[in-house]
């Protein structure tokens, strides 16, 4: 029997989709149990499995015997507006999830890079936060728990559905940003916020150093923007760098922050956007990171943001960059070689700044790895965790590169 025949016998014809462009059979299990069944079988048979969501973020090109896509795990079993929690399967698109939540007055306050239909599982597995990280924290701060399936088909629950939970070790945080190295996320319990009753965006164009100063003044003035993002001209499609300020929350707080923004900007002319313009600005920013072949993020201390932007400009060019200076987070996208990325990672490591490769074609991803330049003692722990959750190395993940 071929792999495809065995999988069809196991999960039924409905689980078999059109193969990917590299002719790897693409399987879409219809339930978490089916994911466990498939991975348990893959482990026993020695199949190599790559994990996919909607196929809009990480390139679907890892060498594998089959591709497991979560796109049929697209249900939202629970939305609890009164508790501000929701439970969603990993294959749900963020756009669909957002809509369902908005209909119930709830909001998942994340705006990850990528296309609107990017799956929740992909966002969690890669921990790709967007500009809203400034006000609401990294992806892991929005998670209450996950259920995942290990590389050998075991289903593991972590966390729960309540706002505070310290029962057991926090395997949820291991999965958030694990890039699938420790299993396939199938179900996610989310912490929500009330849909903001006021949500406004202001833009300011100018020289990068001037905008950085304005950003620092805004922070010093005690404003609490949901997003405070510095965007390169090419990514923003503007003449000069752009500082985007998003204020979201209760009308009273937003009105107070708007007044504060005018006072703090020292005469700088922030341009208010209409709702549809604001939506288009933030969407364009998110989608921009899914267009070019390579995207990575780096995380330094806030005071190093300028120096790090200079470094990126010097080593790779600064065409497509977005940064939350106050959070010390910078995302870059463009074209880069293996050699340049490895050199950059080494340079950054010397500055105590990790580089996480978010997406790249397999030859580059496989060589550079999502992670690298581990500090003392980290490598053996990561290897041990990999062996624990994927003892047969069934999951094809470019954890550290070759």
């Amino acid at each position: 029997m071929t792999i495809l025949e065995k999988v069809t016998a196991l999960l039924g014809e409905g689980a078999v989709l059109e193969p990917s462009t590299d002719r790897v059979p693409r399987i879409a299990p219809g339930s978490p149990d089916a994911v466990a069944l498939l991975l348990g079988t893959a482990h026993q048979e020695g199949w190599r499995v790559r994990i996919e969501g909607a196929g809009t973020w990480l390139q679907s090109d890892a060498p594998a015997d089959l591709a497991l896509t979560t796109r049929r795990l697209d249900r939202i079993p629970a939305v609890e507006p009164a508790d501000l929690t929701a439970t969603a399967e990993a294959g749900i698109g963020l756009d669909q999830l957002r809509q369902q939540l908005a209909d119930r007055g709830a909001w998942l306050s994340i705006d990850p890079p990528g296309l609107a239909g990017r799956t929740l599982g992909s966002i969690v597995a890669t921990a790709t936060a967007g500009p809203l990280r400034h006000g609401f924290g990294p992806i892991k701060d929005h998670l209450l728990g996950v259920t995942f399936v290990t590389g050998d088909g075991r289903m593991v629950q972590s966390g729960g559905r309540v706002m505070k939970n310290v029962a057991g070790y926090d395997l949820t945080r291991l999965q958030a940003g694990g890039f699938g190295a420790f299993g396939v996320i199938v179900l996610v319990h989310l912490r929500l916020r009330t849909l903001p009753r006021a949500d406004v965006t202001y833009l300011l164009e100018g020289a990068r150093e001037d905008l950085t100063q304005v950003g620092e003044d805004i922070a010093a003035a005690g404003l609490t923007p949901a997003a405070l993002e510095l965007v390169s001209p090419a990514l923003a499609r503007r003449e000069r760098w752009v500082l985007g300020v998003r204020l979201a929350g209760s009308p009273a707080l937003v009105a107070a922050d708007e007044a504060g923004l005018r006072a703090a900007s020292g005469g700088a002319r922030f341009m208010p956007l209409r709702a549809e313009e604001a939506h288009a600005f933030w969407m364009r920013l998110a989608e921009g990171f899914a267009v070019r072949p390579v995207t990575f993020r780096i995380g330094g201390v806030p005071s190093a943001s300028d120096e790090l932007l200079d470094l990126l400009q010097h080593q790779l060019g600064d065409e497509w960059i977005s940064a939350s200076p106050a959070a010390g987070a910078i995302r870059w996208t463009g074209d880069a070689t293996i050699d340049r990325l490895q050199r950059l990672r080494r340079t950054l490591a010397g500055l105590e700044v990790p580089l996480t490769l978010e997406r790249a074609p397999w030859p580059l991803r496989g060589a550079v790895g999502h992670f690298g330049a581990y500090r003392e003692g980290v490598g053996p722990l990561v290897a041990g965790l990999r062996r624990t959750f994927d003892p047969g190395s069934a999951l094809v993940v470019a954890t550290e590169g070759s």
Binding site: P32, A36, L38, G40, T41, Q44, R75, P77, A78, A82, D83, A127, T147, D152, R154, M155, G160, R161, V162, K164, V166, A167, G168, Y169, D170, L171, R173, L174, G177, R193, T194, P196, G222, L223, T224, S250, A252, A255, A256, D257, R297, I298, G300, V301, P302, S303, G328, A329, V353, P354, G372, Y374, R375, E376, G377, V378, V382, G384, L385, T388
Partner: protein, 469 residues
């Protein structure tokens, strides 16, 4: 014992290293002789998590109490594990900063202990728990290996080992150096006290505030029994004795106008939800007095009788009114005094039972009532601990919320850090309830065994998931 008087253990030896180097030397010596050990901070924990049995060495870290770096510009600090929580905030205050997690024991508890337990506190509703404030950790594993996890900016070197370590209750090793995020001090603060005729009404007021999209800095509830204990103590805060419950609500922010507007909105919501009166603290002294009553409530309840059972369950916020009523019913049925003081905004309950453990019959009733309260919370979709940790106290409840496979996964992760399970043995994971992680898989074609138990913390059966209509 620790802050929970119901568990007592006697270690063979207690060591108090005075420097990081001494600590490393001690751990490496114990590794060479295969001796189990238990790291301990100030011993204020409430789960028996830092108790060492006979045959174990207790390593007390309170002498490692230096703030190594205060980086106000980047809003971060690097500290040794024995630094007292409140002292860190005091050191940050001149820079206009604070360390936000504020457990009630913050005047004594240590940052290392906070990291081990993923400690919370009243203001975690807005600012998050310890896990949200730790950027990097230097770790000392049981075999003496050092690990540098996390980075000064918070981005991990690879998978999030910092996130995994926080809350591991000392089972993965010792954090020898901790980089924490500091938060700007609020420029405006308003604290108010609302009193209610019924617990249910107070619970409904909590839901109304959350549903309005307002995130108070703190939203705490105390019931009549707790109010009486506080008012009878030296910590008397002026809470109305005849109230069935009081809510202590604090709003803060960097913008005075915004905080005033939200305070008015919350006061109106409280009145509409049935508050008898809403009192806004008129001075810092009044605010401190209101908070003292809340923060010292555990101490006040400790005066009621010889022993105290402290629970730490969490329920969905909307379930609070029903769960509180059920807890009252259970208390009446077992003829016990149950006092509730808790973080209502998070749904984090602390039903406390005062009793005399020298009375065997009473002790038995307390144990039965405790188990019933926990079952009630789990059945409501909750969990067994929100901030105190599992330790040994809640070990027996772990199989109620995690299936054997998930418990086995936890044990397997622990073995990655500590293959011989020498650090803080016998805590967190009930080994007898774990599915063996390293065994040969089921002979059935890829199938997991069918005897797994999905439990009430995850009451949604995977096979019956239905989309929201």
């Amino acid at each position: 014992m620790d802050g929970l008087p119901t568990h007592r253990r006697l270690p063979d030896l207690v060591v108090l290293p005075g420097t990081r180097e001494e600590l490393i030397a001690v751990v490496r010596l114990l590794a060479a002789h295969d001796v189990p050990f238990v790291p301990r901070g100030a011993g204020t924990g409430l789960s028996g998590g830092a108790l060492a049995d006979e045959g174990s060495v207790l390593i007390v870290l309170t002498r490692l109490n230096r703030i190594l770096k205060m980086d106000a510009g980047n809003r971060a600090a690097i500290v040794e594990p024995g630094v007292v929580n409140a002292k860190l905030s005091a050191a940050a205050q001149p820079h206009g900063l604070q360390y936000a997690p504020d457990p009630s024991s913050q005047s004594a508890c240590t940052i290392g202990g906070n990291v081990a337990e993923n400690a919370g506190g009243p203001h975690c509703l807005k600012y998050g728990v310890t896990a949200n404030h730790v950027l990097a950790l230097e770790l000392l594993l049981a075999d003496g290996t050092m690990v540098e996890s996390g980075s000064p900016g918070g981005e991990p070197w690879g998978p999030d080992l910092v996130g995994l370590f926080v809350g591991s209750e000392g089972n993965f090793g010792i954090a020898t150096k901790i980089t924490v995020r500091l938060t700007p001090l609020p420029r405006a603060v308003r604290t108010m006290l609302a009193d209610f005729n019924g617990l249910r009404t107070a619970g409904e007021a909590v839901s109304a505030i959350i549903a309005a999209g307002i995130v108070p800095a703190a939203l705490e509830m105390m019931d009549q029994s707790c109010i009486a204990a506080v008012e009878d103590s030296v910590y008397a805060a002026g809470y109305p004795r005849d109230a069935a419950a009081v809510l202590l609500v604090e709003l803060d922010g960097r913008n005075e106008a915004g905080v005033i507007a939200e305070t008015e909105a919350v006061a109106e919501l409280l009145r509409k939800s049935g508050a008898r009166s809403v009192r806004i603290a008129a001075s810092e002294a009044e605010r401190e007095r209101l908070w003292q009553g809340r923060k010292k409530a555990f101490g006040a309840m400790g005066r009621l009788s010889r022993d105290l059972v402290v629970q730490d369950a969490v329920v969905p916020r909307s379930a609070l009114p029903q769960v509180l009523e059920t807890i009252c019913t259970i208390a009446k049925r077992y003829d016990l005094v149950v006092s509730n003081v808790f973080h209502a905004g998070d749904g984090n309950l602390h039903p406390n039972i005062s009793f005399d453990a020298t009375d065997p019959a009473l002790k038995q009733r307390v144990e039965a009532a405790s188990a019933e309260i926990m079952s009630t919370c789990i059945a409501a979709g909750g969990t067994i601990t929100g901030e105190h940790g599992v330790g040994i106290d809640k070990l027996r409840y772990m199989p109620l919320i995690f299936d054997p496979e998930s418990l086995g996964a936890m044990q397997a992760v622990r073995r990655v850090f500590d293959p011989k399970e020498r650090v803080n043995p016998g805590k967190v994971v009930p080994v007898h309830a774990c599915r063996e992680w390293t065994s040969i898989r089921s002979a059935k074609f890829g199938m997991r065994n069918d005897d797994r138990q999905f439990n009430s913390a995850f009451p949604i059966s995977h096979s019956t998931l239905e989309p929201v209509p």
